[in-house]
């Protein structure tokens, strides 16, 4: 660690610019949670399997635990805190709440961002497309049925 040098890293998160000083091996997840205190992004596995740490990078979902902070300078990063508009929940958040897609809520930020990205790319996904898209996000509580319903309700609106 001592041979590695800290460097300045500029991150654009939720349309705000942040400068942090960190070792180049700092993950985006650590930068978001520890430096920017954006703790809505969760860590459940730390090795890219569970999807809890999902954030959007120029609109595409990535696993922030496998992404280095230095590598995403100049990109637009969106975390769960950046989704709602003012006092109002984003429609994806609202659908999750209305359809009981949230139990303990630990997987929810990552799940919601994955759903958001899916619907941006494909506003009318089929059930199979929905299930495929969220299969990189593990939920231990819900059995996924209500999550799929929530996303489906938006897909129907998209029609």
């Amino acid at each position: 660690m001592s041979e590695m040098k800290k460097t300045a890293i500029t991150l654009n998160v939720n349309n705000e610019t942040h400068d942090i000083i960190a070792y180049p091996n700092k993950t985006l997840l650590e930068a978001l949670r520890d430096d920017l205190r954006l703790t809505g992004t969760k860590e459940s596995c730390g090795e890219g399997v569970c999807g809890s740490c999902t954030v959007l990078l120029d609109g595409a979902p990535v696993r922030s635990c496998l992404t280095l902070a230095v590598a995403v300078q100049g990109k637009k990063i969106t975390t769960i805190e950046g989704l709602r508009v003012g006092e109002k929940l984003h429609p994806v958040q609202e659908a999750f709440v209305n359809h009981h897609a949230i139990q303990c809520g630990f997987c929810s930020p990552g799940m919601i961002l994955t759903a958001y990205a899916l619907l941006k790319e494909n506003p009318t996904p089929t059930e199979t497309e929905i299930r495929r898209a969220i299969s990189g996000n593990i939920c231990r509580c819900t059995g996924y049925a209500k999550i799929v319903e929530a996303i489906k309700s938006l897909a129907e609106e998209g029609k």
């Binding site: 009981h100 303990c104 809520g105 997987c107 059995g143 209500k146």
Partner: protein, 762 residues
């Protein structure tokens, strides 16, 4: 007018909006000024004597603020029961599993803390270890604890009726053995704890828990400070599933580090630590002998079950009993003997799990299928003929006040079109059924009851204060629903202070499915207390009797003449100016037999009421690959009364995923000599969205005479029935009954091969 405004309605939960935005804080999200990072040094040995610990190099590392060893924790021992106090928070003499806590550090950042751990020198003298039930029980085996001869930690013995006579009089008797390895909770949130002391020696501590009061008492004991100085705070919790009920060494270590440094300290577990160093589910071998009459009714049953408990007792007496108790509730059995043995091995500690005992439950259910087949009776009829009924008394003497098992079986069968399918499906298609029953609490000593307070604001809004904890299942919302309903307020008028031991009164915690029944009743009584006090004032004002009044839509009104009304705000203001106390108090103490004890006296009323569930599963097996495709699952439970149907459906669906899809197809821990090889989601396969079948939910209501509005509990019986349904369906598809779980493709291919060769005839 509708009977209820909120009860029984599909309401969106009050806690989920903040979980959708990232605003809800979990323990790992906490940051306090001057907070340090805590890390734990763990044993690399499965069994070893600790010869010496030298932490001097770690202490000298810049940035290290404290090193903690057993010297600091005084070697105190913890156990859920007086007779199971066997686990030291930091061991003084020996370590008993790979991953056991040995020392800890608090440092300015994670890198420094990890470096410090590597500078702690521990001299071990490795000892021979045991890793299986068989090895642990074999003569001359290494012993884990002096106090448990032959490594037998707990023996539960139950004997009712005359089992031998029952077998002698049976038309048909079968004996089979069923087995399953350990499974894991895999809560979404890895364990985390944060703690700080103030100048007056008060501890504030946050951690995921299934009952804050279950945590505060042992903390008070080990820290040797009174309970009023231990403030277990409310925090959002990322799942418990039967775990997180006991004190964790991490809680104690974090508190001691905070005390030593006089700074806040936070310990966040890695996924691997959550799997290895919290709790696991028991591996199990169940030998079941059952005798039935000509019609398939069980006459006698004799069960011997060995459970691998790992290195310490944990909730051992409960864990050794519960798989049997669930089944004796679900099915009638008059002559029955049970011998449950919890055996100690040099493996991580096992606790109570939401789907505890898949080998046991599948054993009972699959054996019923086999007996039925021999008699020419289909599995559905076997269930119906043996199903528990309202008004029965279980073998261990619990009266069953309400039971909808038969209704769940019938409705599930109808919805899944059992009659059209069983025995008529194409090759390698199958259908199976499972049933089970779950308690709503146990005799839990002094913490067996729940109390609640309600405080009113001058505008009529209230704050409900209760020890009920929400692990993610929606308990907070339940409290709001009940309070709003009783008081005639809206959910928006209700604030909560819950699960905070500084403020909230005693409560048993959520781990035994008692929060709806016990905690919910206490909240309801507190609200009724407030209502009574307000009604007294309003009745006087209106010149009517208190019993003539109702409360709804923020108003108190004369039931027969709703025009004559007064706003609750006004009623509260009247009370204030008259100097009348209108705060509410409620307390619920369940009617169970307090003399019942898990080992010494396993007879008497166990729980005031029980839930009952049925799951039917339909599968297609690929004979080339052994892969199972689950086509449809139908899940049903007698929940008493559905307070919030959507919440209950969510519990059913989660229960099917964990108990059936994961529990019967993919979930098990793999080992090498006491070391977990699959501690993360990479190797331990939790079901994904793409794996899950369509699930039909059927809610059955029996209106329990004592439950709040008739409610019992919301989904555990489904979770405990799903494995059997999956197992029955796969067995039905392949034409071979499976006795070892989970049923992975290799087992299926082997069975098909043997069947072809004629080695295994079924």
């Amino acid at each position: 007018m509708e009977k209820f405004s909120y009860i029984g309605k599909d309401m969106k939960r009050i806690d989920t909006a903040s979980k959708s935005t990232g605003e809800a804080l979990f323990a790992a999200d906490l940051a306090l000024p001057r907070m340090l990072v805590g890390k734990i040094l763990r044993s690399p040995h499965a069994h070893a004597r600790i010869v010496a610990i030298d932490a001097s190099r770690a202490e000298k590392l810049p940035g290290v603020k404290a090193v903690l060893t057993a010297r600091d924790t005084c070697g105190d021992k913890w156990g859920v029961f007086k007779y199971t106090q066997d686990q030291q928070f930091l061991p003084t003499e020996k370590v008993r599993y790979v991953g056991e806590e040995v020392a800890a550090v608090a440092a300015v950042d994670e890198d420094t803390a990890l470096e410090a751990l590597s500078l702690i020198d521990v001299a071990y003298e490795p000892l021979p270890a045991v890793f299986t039930i068989e090895d642990a029980l074999s003569p001359g085996a290494p012993q884990l604890h002096d106090v448990y001869p032959n490594n037998i930690n707990i023996h539960v013995h139950i004997n009712v009726g005359d089992v031998e006579k029952g077998f002698a009089g049976s038309h048909l008797v079968r004996e089979d053995t069923f087995a399953a390895p350990e499974d894991s909770y895999f809560q979404g949130e890895p364990y985390a704890v944060a703690a700080q002391f103030d100048h007056a020696g008060n501890l504030e501590i946050w951690m995921p828990n299934a009952g804050p009061h279950l945590k505060s008492k042992p903390l008070s004991n080990v820290l040797k400070i009174p309970l009023n100085k231990v403030r277990v705070r409310k925090i959002t919790i990322g799942g418990a599933f039967g775990g997180r009920s006991e004190i964790s060494p991490a809680d104690v270590i974090c508190a001691f580090l905070a005390k030593k440094t006089q700074r806040p300290v936070k310990i966040v577990y890695t996924r691997e630590e959550n799997t290895v160093c919290t709790r696991q589910a028991h591996s199990m071998i169940a030998r079941i002998k059952t005798g039935v009459d000509r019609e398939g009714r069980v006459v006698a049953r004799d069960i011997t079950c060995h459970m691998d408990g790992g290195a310490y007792s944990s909730t051992g007496p409960i864990a050794t009993s519960v798989p049997f108790l669930c089944m004796e509730q679900a099915y009638r059995m008059e002559n029955v003997r049970y011998n449950g043995y919890r055996v100690l091995t040099n493996k991580p500690i096992r606790g109570m799990f939401r789907t505890h005992g898949r080998a046991f439950a599948c054993g009972v259910d699959i054996q019923l299928d086999r007996l039925g087949e021999a008699l020419g009776i289909d599995p559905l009829t076997m269930r119906l003929r043996n199903a528990r009924q309202t008004g029965d008394t279980t073998p261990t003497k619990s009266y069953v006040a309400s039971c909808g098992l038969t209704e769940t079986i019938e409705k599930t069968a109808k919805r899944s079109r059992w009659a059209e399918k069983f025995g008529k499906l194409p090759p390698y298609h199958g259908i199976g059924i499972g049933c089970n029953s779950v308690q709503t609490g146990f005799p839990m000593g002094i913490r067996g009851g729940s109390q609640a307070f309600i405080k009113l604001n001058e505008d009529g809004g209230v704050t409900v204060i209760t020890g009920i904890v929400d692990n993610g299942q929606g308990n907070d919302h339940m409290i709001v629903q009940i309070a709003a309903e009783e008081l005639g307020l809206t959910p928006d008028d209700i604030q909560l202070i819950t699960a905070d031991t500084e403020v909230t009164p005693s409560d048993p915690g959520s781990y035994s499915m008692c929060e709806t029944f016990i905690g919910g009743n206490a909240v309801r009584l507190a609200a009724q207390d407030v209502k009574k006090k307000l009604f007294r004032i309003v009745a006087e004002e209106f010149g009517v009797g208190e019993e003539d009044l109702s409360a709804k839509n923020r108003k108190i009104f004369v039931t027969k003449n709703p025009e004559q009304s007064i706003s609750i705000t006004k009623a509260v203001r009247m009370a204030l100016t008259r100097n009348e106390s209108i705060s509410g108090e409620g307390s619920y103490w369940p009617n169970v037999d307090w003399k019942r004890e898990w080992v010494k006296n396993p007879y008497g009323q166990l729980s005031e009421t029980f839930s009952f569930g049925t799951v039917i599963c339909e599968v297609k097996v690929d004979p080339e690959t052994g892969q199972v495709e689950v086509l449809e699952v139908t899940a049903s439970q007698d929940v008493g009364y559905a307070l919030n149907p959507k919440v209950i459906e969510g519990q059913f669906e989660g229960g099917v995923a964990m108990g059936g899809q994961g529990g019967m197809l993919t979930e098990y821990l793999q080992w090498h000599e006491g070391r977990v090889l699959t501690p993360t989601q990479l190797g331990y396969l939790v079901p994904l969205a793409i794996d899950m079948p369509k699930i039909n939910d059927i809610i059955v209501e029996t209106i329990d005479p004592k439950g709040p509005y008739g409610a019992k509990e919301a989904g555990m019986s489904v979770a405990m029935s799903a494995a059997q349904a999956y197992c029955g369906a796969i067995s039905n598809a392949v034409g071979i009954y499976f006795h070892e779980y989970p049923i992975t493709p290799d087992k299926i291919l082997k069975a098909i091969e043997e069947k072809k060769k004629g080695d295994r005839k079924e």
